[in-house]
Amino acid sequence: MSELLLTLAVKSVLVVSVCMLMVAYLTLAERKILGFIQLRYGPNRVGYWGLLQPIADGIKAFLKEELTPANADRKVFLLAPIISIAAPMLLLVVIPFGDTVTLFGREFTLYLSNPDIGILFVLGISTLGSYGGVLGGWASGNKYGYIGGVRSTAMMVSYELSMAFAVICVVLLSNSLSLVDIVHSQAGVWNIFKAPVAFLIFLISGLAELNRTPFDMPEAEAELCCGYNVEYSSMKFALFFFGEYTHLFILGCLTTTLFLGGWHGPLLPGIIWFFIKTFAVIFLCIWQRATFPRLRWDFVMKLEWKFLLPLAIVNVLATGFIVAIF
């Protein structure tokens, strides 16, 4: 029993610290990739090739003055950044990074837990993450923050639907809600080849859920000057920022798990394949950010309700039909 607890504790610490380190370096990766695309270098002053930049940013965020607006709702104002970082970190629990490995004559699973309803857990908790933005915007007592929060709510309500429908396709194909079983079912053919439309819908609504650039309505710089986090400073702002990148990392992990075959791949060990695929998805997200302009607010809603949602429903029906016949 104590051995089990010890293993679990060590694994949790390992997963959280390694993933958080990766997330910290995602900020650098994003700035570097955007820089290269715009014919710049990106950060390259702190450390060799700018490799100490995330640490310098962290120190800077800690040393900044912390302000709470006079007409802010203090408790909620404090709670919002915590929610926005805690929800995506919670999701690390169910991500299957690899299959079992044998170390010191003992078998270890490369995931923290494997609940039977893994994918439902993911959908539920990832929606909770949006509450960070909603509450933060509302509690700031600022009109821009308020509009950002309202938009965040609308995005959450609408894009969650098509995302869930895309996930249902995967569930139909693999006959299970557990993420590990979903990966096991993709040993032969990855789900992206079985359900390409679902993959596209999942990726687009995932980006919208993340509030990344073509859909970054809650923090549209040009209109809302920063959106829901406009009144936040110092480490509270950094938590929002960090939560957003953790969400991006989780999106990469989930896309890999659901559509790209998880840890399956030739030659290299499974966990390396998992991270290669994850970072490929993350690169795609950053790449499209550098390419596409932001959609207007009504177009974002139109895209979801008039295009993605009907498409997703038809897709689910068609997949169900095909699965039932064959």
Binding site: I33, G35, F36, I37, Q38, L39, R40, Y41, N44, V46, G47, Y48, W49, L52, W287, Q288, A290, T291, F292
Partner: protein
């Protein structure tokens, strides 16, 4: 009224829906740029090559013996539109004429290059140095000693030791 007379303002449905191909084209373009070399000049480490005719800080040229070519004729001070040049001539008995004081206020100067053009001896030149910086206004009043060698003011980044360690 014929069909060809009608000017259609509203686009046809097919034309309106064409956005997938341009999006992919855009992605291809950014990917191409991702692999090309950055255009940035990393300023204190690298410097832009300026034109041969660049007009920067002034320099008083000297002959082989190391004496100033300037004969303190005062033409440069006369033509200077910003009245930035201040010089006092000095002449030994029957000997050569040279400037006793030659002060250029670099903050007043508009770097038009007239002084270089008007000088009969080619004694004043505009160098290519464009990034002189200092802390006081007085420091920008260049006297003969400062004007003798403009290259000493080329900006050199002094790196602290920890910066060498960090790269």
């Amino acid at each position: 009224m014929k069909e060809s007379d009608i000017i259609r303002v509203r686009k046809r449905q097919g034309e309106k829906e064409k956005y997938v191909a341009p999006l992919l084209k855009g992605l291809g373009y950014t990917m191409k740029k991702f692999w090309s070399k950055p255009k940035t000049i990393q300023y204190p480490d690298q410097k832009r090559e300026v034109s041969e005719r660049w007009r920067g800080l002034h320099e008083l040229t000297r002959n082989e013996a190391g004496e100033l070519n300037c004969v303190a004729c005062g033409l440069c001070a006369a033509i200077c539109p910003a009245m930035a040049i201040d010089l006092t001539p000095y002449e030994e008995e029957g000997g050569i004429r040279y400037p006793k004081e030659f002060v250029i206020d670099e903050l007043r100067c508009i770097f038009c290059g007239y002084c270089e053009e008007v000088c009969p001896k080619g004694a004043i030149k505009l160098s290519k140095i464009y990034d002189y910086a200092d802390f006081s206004r007085e420091a920008f009043r260049f006297d003969i000693e400062k004007l003798k060698d403009a290259r000493q003011f080329r900006f050199r980044e002094k790196k602290a030791r920890y910066q060498y360690l960090l790269g």
